[in-house]
């Protein structure tokens, strides 16, 4: 009967929710047999509460037990003893084949007895089990040396070889436990066998054993150990832990150690009052230090505030508070980036040739670029200014966080940015040497995904025209360099890029040279024509330029076609003349600006030369 039933009877409101179910008593169902089960089954789902009677009292319980485990006195040896199992001890272990069928206990017992007597010989033959404790036997390595090594490296005025040997042996015996080594150190130098062998004499001669302090012993041992370490493995090949050990052993300072021990002894010898006073002083010191630390903390905080980048934030902020102002800012930044790009292009030492993308700027210019950029954590990978798209993105990302005049300079955000700046500054602290050590390079902005280095070279190729490619390949074959590098390591690629630059420069120069030759030829042809005409009109230096203009008209009949190309040629020439001189001085500086002209001139030149050819034919 549940509470719900009561409620129903009393006509009370039913509580919401389902009726609580009768909890079933999870009684384990005994597996009964025979009549008992039939009786149980009469009850159906509600089992009849009959406590099963335990009929078997003791006998059964023992009967259900497993057979007794068999144990044997098993001999074993301990390999850590190092005596090839000379000592065989015996301990009790459970028998391995203990799962004998039950029932023949008696037989087993008999058998065991006989085993005990007869099986001894058999056991001896088979390999005895090793003690499971043998593995704990750990020996410390003590430096070894032979006579030669000793004479070459370990000579010491204060220590004879015998005593050093004795020290090493003692160290090995006591596993480097120095208090014990010092405690048991009793070196008695051997009496030297004099030719007389007089006992009284030898006793008189015998040097008294030197009392050695623990520091003496340590000093000598560390000296020997360090030297032998260095002999076996020169210091530069040691691994880090080895080298640290080596250093520590080399730096052992007996005098310092003695002094330290004296201090310790003094500390132990303090009187109670002194001890108390020192304790209070230590407390005081701790307090002072703690105060000092908080003071420093505050001061650092103050400095951080003072160190905020100089901004005229108030005015700027107002300017950028509107969206128009923001757009303006973006525009400004992009402009400044562009100008920067141009500058770097101009500054780039090797950007010759007509192609806008050429050899990448290695290290220096990239570094310069990044250091120029405002304090920004992405500086280290800040791209150099090649590749318009990449650069553009980068410039924006690098510009935005750097603006101290950002519209929402929340103090926390500013702080964070400062930290970023600080870490960047820390990162910038890497010296050149360190950069080399850690393999830090400031290269191109990396594209997504892995690339092969030789692909970089392929890219260089693909940017060139077919003709140029052919020329460069020819040059490379001349130099015996395969166009595709066999081992494109970073260094090799770098070198190759330099070579590539030189080659392109060479090719360009050759081209220019060729062109100039052509032009000279053309001019000479013209001159020859003019000389022919000179028979009528005397040539004059000053008049030549004017004559150039006049030539159009004058040579109207001469120039049968009266073609504009000839005019172009003239113009070209005008351009060309000053340029030629410029090129003599520093062709590199001038080349970029003139490159466009070259191209045009080349095509025109060919047309001109065609024309001259025609004329010659005529």
């Amino acid at each position: 009967m549940t509470s719900a039933d009561v409620r129903e009877v009393l006509n009370l409101n039913q509580p919401s929710g389902p009726r609580p179910k009768k909890q079933k008593v999870a009684a384990p169902r005994q597996s009964l047999k025979g009549l008992a089960r039939e009786v149980q089954a009469l009850g159906g789902d509600n089992p009849i509460a009959i406590v099963p009677e335990i009929t078997s009292f003791r006998k059964k319980r023992f009967g259900s037990r497993k057979p007794a485990a068999r144990w044997e006195l098993r001999p074993f040896q301990n390999s850590a003893r190092g005596d090839n199992g000379a000592l065989v001890l015996r301990h009790w272990r459970q028998k391995k084949d203990a799962m004998a069928p039950p029932g023949d206990d008696l037989m087993d017992g008999v058998q065991m007895e006989t085993d005990g007597k007869l099986g001894d010989g058999e056991n001896k033959k088979e390999v005895l089990e090793d003690s499971s404790f043998a593995k704990y036997n750990v020996k410390i390595p003590v430096p070894q040396y032979d006579d030669d090594q000793y004479n070459n490296n370990l000579q010491n005025d204060d220590w004879s070889k015998e005593e050093t040997d004795y020290l090493m042996e003692t160290v090995r015996d006591f596993d480097l436990r120095w208090p014990l080594i010092w405690d048991r150190y009793e070196f008695v130098p051997e009496i030297p066998d004099g030719p007389d062998g007089g006992e009284a004499l030898s006793v008189a001669v015998m040097p008294a054993p030197k009392p050695r302090t623990m520091e003496d012993l340590k000093q000598r041992y560390y000296e020997v150990a360090a030297k032998m370490m260095a002999v076996q493995k020169p210091a530069q090949y040691m691994t880090r832990p080895e080298f640290e050990l080596y250093e520590t052993m080399l730096q052992f300072n007996a005098a310092k150690e003695t002094q330290r021990k004296r201090f310790v002894a003094n500390t132990l010898a303090r009187t109670r009052e002194e001890a108390r006073e020192e304790e209070s002083l230590l407390m005081e010191l701790k307090r002072i230090l703690a105060r000092n630390q908080t003071f420093n903390e505050e001061r650092r905080d103050l400095y951080r505030r003072l160190d905020f980048p100089p901004t005229n934030a108030e005015e700027d902020l107002n300017a950028y508070k509107s969206s128009a102002g923001l757009a303006n800012l973006l525009q400004n930044l992009m402009n400044s980036e562009k100008s920067k790009k141009r500058k770097s292009l101009a500054a780039g030492p090797d950007g010759p040739g007509p192609t806008p993308t050429s050899v990448s700027h290695p290290g220096p210019s990239g570094v310069h670029q990044s250091s120029e950029g405002p304090g920004h954590r992405r500086e280290s990978i800040a791209a150099s200014t090649h590749g318009g798209h990449g650069h553009h993105r980068d410039s924006i990302t690098s510009a935005t966080p750097a603006t101290p005049a950002e519209p929402t300079p929340a103090p926390g955000g500013a702080d964070k940015k400062k930290k970023g700046g600080a870490t960047a500054a820390e990162r910038r602290k890497l010296t050149e040497q360190e950069e080399q050590v850690y393999g830090v390079t400031y290269g191109d902005r990396l594209g997504g995904g892995p690339t092969f280095r030789y692909e970089k070279i392929n890219k260089l190729y693909s940017h060139k025209s077919n003709q140029q490619q052919k020329r460069i390949t020819n040059l490379l074959t001349e130099l015996d360099i395969p166009p595709r590098l066999a081992m494109p390591t970073a260094k090799v690629v770098e070198e190759f890029e330099r070579l590539w630059g030189a080659l392109t420069a060479l090719v360009d120069l050759r081209k220019v040279n060729e062109k100039l030759d052509n032009e000279i030829m053309v001019e000479e042809v013209k001159k020859a024509e003019r000389d022919r005409a000179k028979g009528i009109v005397p040539a004059e230096e000053e008049q030549e330029k004017a004559a150039d203009d006049g030539q159009n008209g004058e040579t109207g009949e001469a120039g049968a076609e009266g073609d504009p190309p000839s005019v172009v040629i003239k113009n070209e020439e005008g351009d060309q003349v000053p340029e030629q001189t410029g090129e003599v001085n520093g062709e590199k500086e001038k080349r970029p600006s003139s490159s466009g002209g070259h191209k045009r001139s080349a095509s025109v030149l060919s047309a001109g030369s065609d024309k001259s050819n025609k004329r010659q034919k005529k």
Binding site: R65, L87, R177, D183, R184, R272, A275, E278
Partner: protein, 466 residues
Amino acid sequence: MAQQQPLSSTVQPTDVYGGDEVSALVLDPGYYNTRAGFAGEDVPRQVIPSFYGHIEGRDLFGDEVIIPRAGYEVRNYMNRDSVVEDWDAATKAWEHVLVRRLQPERQTPPSKNGLNDETDGDVVMDDGAGAEMEERPLSENPLLMTEAPWNSAKAREKAIEVVMENWACPAFWLSRTPVLASFAAGKATALVVDVGGANTSVTAVHDGMMLKRSVQKSPAGGLWLSGQIRSMWETNEPKVDIVPSFMVENKKPVEAGAPADYRPKKFDFPITDSFRLFEEERVLTEFKESVVEVWRGPAKFTESQQYIANQPGRVFEMPNGSNQMWKEQRYKVSEGMWDESAAFPPPTAPGLDIPSLAKNQTIPALIKACLDGVDVDLKPNLLGNVVVTGSTSLLNGFNDRLNNELQAAYPGVRIKIHAAGLTSERRFGAWIGGSILASLGTFHQMWISRKEYEENGPGIVEKRCK
């Protein structure tokens, strides 16, 4: 139900403590007692006096044989330095305790038990197995023995010789008592203060090895304390006679301080002095156990007479029935251990030969000398691990006094005294340490095996047991 028992017999004991029993024996001979038992147990099975009876050229061992007899002398195979003096007797004593008392009784071989004796008197063939058993009684038990820290190399070699030659032990080890006492306290590094029967020794143990230069010993032990009690009784106002129990036929209760009323036992033979002294010592031991106390400090004993005089006294009844209340005297007798100037002059009775303590033989002086003999870096660690052992350290207030003395001598150093609470652990500290050591699995590689002994001779003990 059987499976739910904590540890069924079928389950191998787990090796949590690194034990691996090889049925080793541990023998710990001391000045008063010789302790012997099986490694791995927590108390020695057999404790017999190191004193033995000597009568008509025979030596008798065991407590129960020391009874009044004509011409019966009581001797000790150890000397006052806790070093074996009489090797023949020592061998017999050890054989008695190790073989007779620790090994199970063996059946007399059928040829000798008298049941098979034939009347025609044929010569009985010697039974090989039985003889072998007689000769090799300990052939399955490695033996670990203890020794005093100052034991001489010669005595150590003699010990291994005796053990190896007589009972066919497969392996042997000799260990110093302070080391074992510190093991018993569960420490590898300790300053062991062992206040034993004939000696008090203070030894520094570092990493399971004794520091030789730190070993300090003095006679300020139980025997010396007995001498103090004798002196006190001699100088007491009604002089106290020591009448051992065996001399009392019967007694009547008397008032405190009244002369005893007892009938002495009559012996028709003279009682030897040695026997009498041994029996007197029993009385003194009882007095020490029940009455003597150590002044705890920290105030000086001489400056606290007033306070001490007001402390409740204790009554001690002598075997002959005389009894007396002992008040400040019970502190005074033990004060000499700490302050030589407070000691009684040594007793003058013949045959006692008890020295008076010098200034550097008191316990604080011993500890100081011991610590001066070790590296300064070890001192704080040692003072943090002071192990007190030996039965005489069971005197009431001993640990408090020691703590106070150490704190006065070494302020600013943390001092921690480890003294076992159980009487048996304090009495048998070295034996228990030996029991632990010999049952360790990692110790198997240390034993000096019979083969090593045969190859190297007794000198190996000096090489191995450092």
